[in-house]
């Protein structure tokens, strides 16, 4: 509904389509409301804030339903109505679904740690919602300035979330590491953006695409450099090599739900930005970014998987560490279709595979983190060896984790994981990137080793009887908190339904999203 349309006329006031911007707006407004409410809510009523945030995220998700009927654009140039800064097309809606759904599941995971007073409630919810709002804004952004603002809105609260555990040295160290490397990457992106602006004279992605084809000969180098540098910030968020070193330490230092959030929503922010700048803004420079991304994809998946392979099961936090490295490996797969997009006639076609893969990955990876959160309740060290015999203690959780891991590995019964990988392979083969497909094939085999080793551990008989260390431990494991159970159930259900009907996500791989 164009509220301001009638009044605007030819004035300089842009019309705002409130329906189109509802999803990020709702998240942001609820976030602010929670921050304010935190001041007035008595200590014993703090859980209320959590439920408000959950409701806010659910409302933001529900508002996506209003956007299904067609593409909407807003914040358009008053002079040229075809050039807009915010677009709610199918791509935007799908990514917003992923981001807000991921945030909602993260919120479910966060309820119990917050109740146990491990984290300050008001700040936590505010930061989570703000970051989600930024992440939801990003896929809709269609100019470089909005894109960078959205990237920062998504990132800045994330730094704070990582370092939120008071008095925990590892947490603060992780946050600092994350902050410094991320800020550097964003600065490089800004520099690249300014080069591109200098060469083309516009910030709107579609305009850049047109103007880049007619750049002055003298400015060619500037434009090329700008294109390359712009990608850096997003590659960092995706945790692509060589910007991946922050991942394991940050995931371990962060509270577990935040690590889950970073692994899914943080990555979504990265590859969405990459898709937007490469496919929408720089299609004419495909010869620059496509080979670079292909090499990056190969290096990323190899580095992530090899590092995951080398994890020692007995080390503290080895489970989260493994998930961290595996998420680096998975980021490599996500990059493959984006690289392939540079080689095919219609780039927008190829990136659908990334979107489909990301949806699958989001569901099962959050599920794996949810089970990790469950195990962390009784064994906070979260070693891989703590998962031995999980089937005997929590049969359903163990089956779910086994299913998630096999989905990530891409083997039946994780049928959706298998077919998501097939679409990625297909994109690579279709683009003639045979070598990349072979590298990916090798990586799939490497990854199977550590995923299956973990899965096999779940069903082993427990090693003797674990000595009861603290009196309160059995009491805490006895009853599972409802939100955690709900998170595991929802992700498992999504995985199983998708395995029966993969078309539900794979259709994005063949349809035009922009």
């Amino acid at each position: 509904m164009n509220v301001a349309e009638g009044a605007a006329g030819v004035s300089l006031v842009q019309s705002v389509d409130w329906t189109a911007i509802a999803p990020p707006t709702i998240a942001a407004v609820v976030g602010l409301a929670v921050l304010v409410a935190d001041l007035f809510v008595p200590e014993n009523r703090k859980p209320l804030l959590g439920w408000i945030s959950l409701a806010g995220l659910a409302a933001a998700l529900a508002s996506l339903l209003l956007l299904l009927d067609g593409d909407r654009e807003t914040f358009c140039l008053t002079g040229d109505a075809g050039v807009c800064s915010y677009t709610a097309d199918r791509f935007t809606v799908v990514i917003q679904l992923l981001v807000l759904g991921g945030a909602l599941l993260t919120a479910l995971l966060s309820v119990s740690p917050l109740k146990d007073k491990e984290l300050p409630a008001g700040e936590y919810w505010f930061l989570l919602l703000s970051s989600a709002a930024g992440a939801a804004l990003l896929p809709a952004s269609r100019d470089l300035a909005t894109l960078v603002v959205a990237l920062e809105v998504a990132s800045l609260p994330a730094f704070a979330l990582v370092g939120l555990r008071r008095g925990d040295r590892r947490s603060s160290e992780a946050a600092l590491k994350f902050f410094l490397s991320s800020v550097t990457a964003t600065a490089v992106t800004l520099l690249g953006g300014s080069f591109v602006y200098a060469a083309t004279g516009t910030l709107h992605l579609t305009e850049i695409a047109v103007k880049l084809t007619e750049v002055d000969g003298d400015l060619q180098t500037l434009a090329r450099t700008g294109v390359a540098l712009t990608l850096v910030g997003f590659a960092f968020k995706t945790a692509a090599v060589p910007f991946h070193f922050w991942v394991p330490d940050t995931y371990i230092g962060a509270p577990l739900p935040v690590a889950a959030y970073l692994s899914v929503v943080g990555k979504a922010v990265g590859f969405t930005g990459l898709i937007l700048v490469t496919v929408v803004a720089f299609p004419s420079y495909a010869d620059v970014w496509a080979p670079a991304l292909a090499v990056l994809a190969a290096l990323t998946m190899t580095a992530g998987n090899v590092a995951a392979l080398r994890q020692q099961a007995g080390r503290a936090f080895s489970a989260v560490r493994l998930l961290a490295w595996s998420s680096v490996g998975q980021a490599g797969y996500l990059l493959v279709p984006i690289a392939a997009a540079g080689y095919v006639d219609d780039p927008a076609d190829a990136i659908g595979a990334t979107v489909a893969y990301a949806l699958m990955y989001a569901a099962v990876n959050l599920g794996a983190f949810a089970v990790a959160a469950l195990v962390a309740r009784s064994t906070p060290e979260n070693r891989l060896t703590d998962y031995r015999g999980l089937y005997a203690r929590h049969p359903l959780a163990a089956l779910a984790l086994g299913f998630f891991l096999l989905c990530l590995a891409g083997l039946p019964p994780g049928i959706i994981g298998l077919f998501a990988k097939v679409t990625v392979f297909q994109a690579a083969v279709d683009a003639g990137l045979g070598w990349l497909a072979v590298v990916m094939a090798l990586n799939v085999v490497i990854a199977l080793y550590y995923y299956l080793r973990w899965t096999a551990l779940l069903f082993r008989t427990p090693e003797g009887e674990a000595p009861v260390r603290e009196g309160d431990v059995p009491a805490r494991t006895a009853s599972l908190p409802l939100p955690l159970t709900a998170a595991i159930a929802v992700t498992a259900l999504v995985g199983i339904v998708l395995s029966g009907a993969p078309q539900m996500v794979l259709r994005f791989s063949e349809s035009v999203l922009f």
């Binding site: 489909a356 096999l406 083997l411 039946p412 019964p413 049928i415 298998l418 077919f419 097939v422 679409t423 392979f425 297909q426 083969v429 279709d430 045979g434 497909a437 072979v438 094939a441 090798l442 799939v444 085999v445 199977l448 080793y449 299956l452 096999a456 069903f459 008989t461 993969p502 078309q503 794979l506 259709r507 994005f508 791989s509 063949e510």
Partner: protein, 532 residues
């Protein structure tokens, strides 16, 4: 033979593929009241027998309802769109090539379930150390059955890949949890090898699908690769061929097989040799021969060469294992003999003639029956004596099974002579037809090369006879007084599980037309493709 309406046939085929999966899910649930049996273990094992029995009956009825006058046409076909985005269709059907394999799989799985059930009943009287729960065991066997049956029934390349992958996880757990010594390593070797092969195969399948615009095996087979350029066919054959060759296994990609067989539990070995290996050769016949004939023609001499090396290598390895003082493991020996037998199958396929391919398909079935029987026997021998070490078993003069357990010894000797290809038993026809095929290979293939291969392969049969007879001499004959320990002869339940295999081995040997009548028209059509 009997007239069954098409929709019932469709239902039967769908049941055969999906039934075991439902059964696997049901096996994990607690038994309903009234079916609890004497103990939870017994109930779930009985559940396994019931489900595999139903599937076997369905397979037999399907075989009876199959129109034997037109074995070349796909029957009981179902074609439903599943994932339009990837153009994946649930396309099922059987013809003369897949029908025998479906029945063989259903039969072997049923016999395995039956054997496990009665063995547990038997052991309950003399309890031993309890292993892992049979609940998971039955569920895994059923998933495995579903995957193998699906491989033989699907007509879509990506579904074929899915079914191919489906057997990996169950087999891994069967080896890693119920296996013998070195099981963890063997299980890893099995799954990593096979997965690497099948991922490479996926690339080849995608290449075919993308270049020709469809993943439907029937449409592609009718096309006979006309849509595909020779270079695409070459790459596709190489990629798919490697995946299938690992599974088959072809020398030099076979090294996972002996380890897997040695470590696997009896039932796992039977299924691995009896049906899993057939998935590889079936893929050669169903996918590579009709869809990429040009590429296959280029690679056929190499395939034949590797096959022949496999025959000789397998036989020599067996001879080395069978020697006195070699500490040869009997299971490992049979595994190596499988490499040799599958070499004959690959040689038959590589000739690209109807004779050779028919021989290959026949040898496939024969190997499933005979090697299945041999692994059952060796497993039972291990249960009785606690060892599969040939030297430990044979001692100075021999284990003397003839003297201690005459029926057991006779059956083992039967399996051995069937395996070496005695005329009149199933092992003979397949190998002979494969050799015939090599005598006169397809027109574009070099005849001198194939004549050489034929001569070497024929020499391989001699070596096979040598080691098989050596095994018979060392296990069945000897002085019963040397190690006077008592050895139980064949029990009733063992008879029940093994008699069908023996009967079918004799039947296929005496009446080969029963099988060849089914496969031959289908093979003719596959090789001719759209030209027929």
């Amino acid at each position: 033979m009997i007239d069954i309406s098409e929709s019932v046939m469709q239902f039967l085929l769908a049941l055969i593929v999906a039934g075991p999966l439902l059964g696997a899910a049901a096996a994990l649930l607690p038994a309903p009241p009234g079916l609890k049996g004497k103990s939870p273990d017994q109930a779930v094992l009985r559940h396994g027998v019931t489900v595999t029995g139903v599937i076997l009956i369905a397979a037999v009825v399907l075989a009876l309802g199959f129109d034997h006058d037109h074995p070349a046409t796909m029957q009981a076909t179902t074609d439903i769109s599943w994932i339009p985005a990837l153009d994946v269709r649930i396309h099922l059907g059987v013809d003369g090539i897949s029908l025998p394999l479906l029945v063989l799989t259903a039969l072997l799985t049923f016999l395995c379930a039956l054997y496990s059930y009665f063995k547990q009943q038997h052991q309950r009287l003399a309890p031993r150390a309890t292993g892992p729960s049979p609940k998971a065991f039955i569920a895994l066997i059923l998933v495995l059955e579903s995957g193998t049956l699906a491989t033989f029934a699907v007509l879509d390349l990506l579904l074929f890949f899915l079914a191919f992958e489906m057997v990996l996880i169950p087999m891994y757990f069967l080896i890693a949890r119920w296996g013998g010594a070195q099981r963890t390593q063997a299980a890893w070797k099995f799954i990593l090898y096979t997965l690497l092969g099948s991922v490479v195969m996926l690339l080849g399948l995608l290449l075919i699908g993308l270049k020709s615009g469809t993943f439907d095996m029937l449409a592609l087979a009718t096309d006979n690769g006309r849509e595909l350029t020779t270079s695409v066919q070459l790459i596709a054959v190489l990629a798919i061929g490697i995946g299938l060759a690992v599974k088959t296994p072809m020398w030099p990609l076979h090294s996972w097989l002996p380890d897997a067989h040695t470590a696997a539990p009896t039932v796992g070995s039977v299924l691995l040799a009896g049906v899993l290996l057939k998935m590889g050769t079936y893929g050669f016949v169903r996918i590579l021969l009709p869809i990429t004939p040009d590429g296959m023609r280029e690679f056929a001499p190499y395939l034949a060469a590797f096959a022949v090396v496999g025959i000789i290598y397998g036989s020599l390895a067996c001879l080395a294992l069978a020697r006195k003082g070699a500490k040869g493991d009997l299971k490992r020996l049979i595994a190596y003999s499988s490499v040799g037998h599958m070499g004959f199958v690959l040689l038959g396929i590589a000739t690209m003639t109807p004779t050779g391919v028919n021989g290959a398909l026949f040898a496939n079935i024969a190997h499933g029956l005979i090697t299945g029987l041999l692994f059952f026997l060796v497993g039972a021998l291990k249960d009785r004596t606690g060892s599969t070490d040939l030297d430990a078993l044979a001692g100075q003069t021999g284990q003397a099974l003839y003297g201690k357990a005459p029926r057991f010894g006779a059956l083992l000797a039967f399996g051995a002579v069937a395996s070496l290809g005695l005329p009149g038993l199933a092992g003979f026809w397949g190998e002979m037809l494969a050799l015939f095929g090599a005598f006169r290979p397809a027109e574009d293939l070099s005849r001198p090369a194939f004549l050489t291969f034929m001569a070497i392969a024929a020499f391989g049969t001699l070596l096979t006879a040598a080691y098989m007879l050596l095994v018979v001499r060392r296990i069945c004959m000897g002085d019963p007084q040397e190690k006077p320990q008592a050895l139980a002869d064949i029990q009733g339940y063992e008879f029940a599980a093994w008699t069908p295999l023996v009967a079918l081995t004799v039947l296929a040997g005496l009446w080969p037309a029963l099988l060849l009548g089914l496969t031959d028209p289908a093979v003719q059509k596959l090789l001719a493709g759209g030209k027929a």
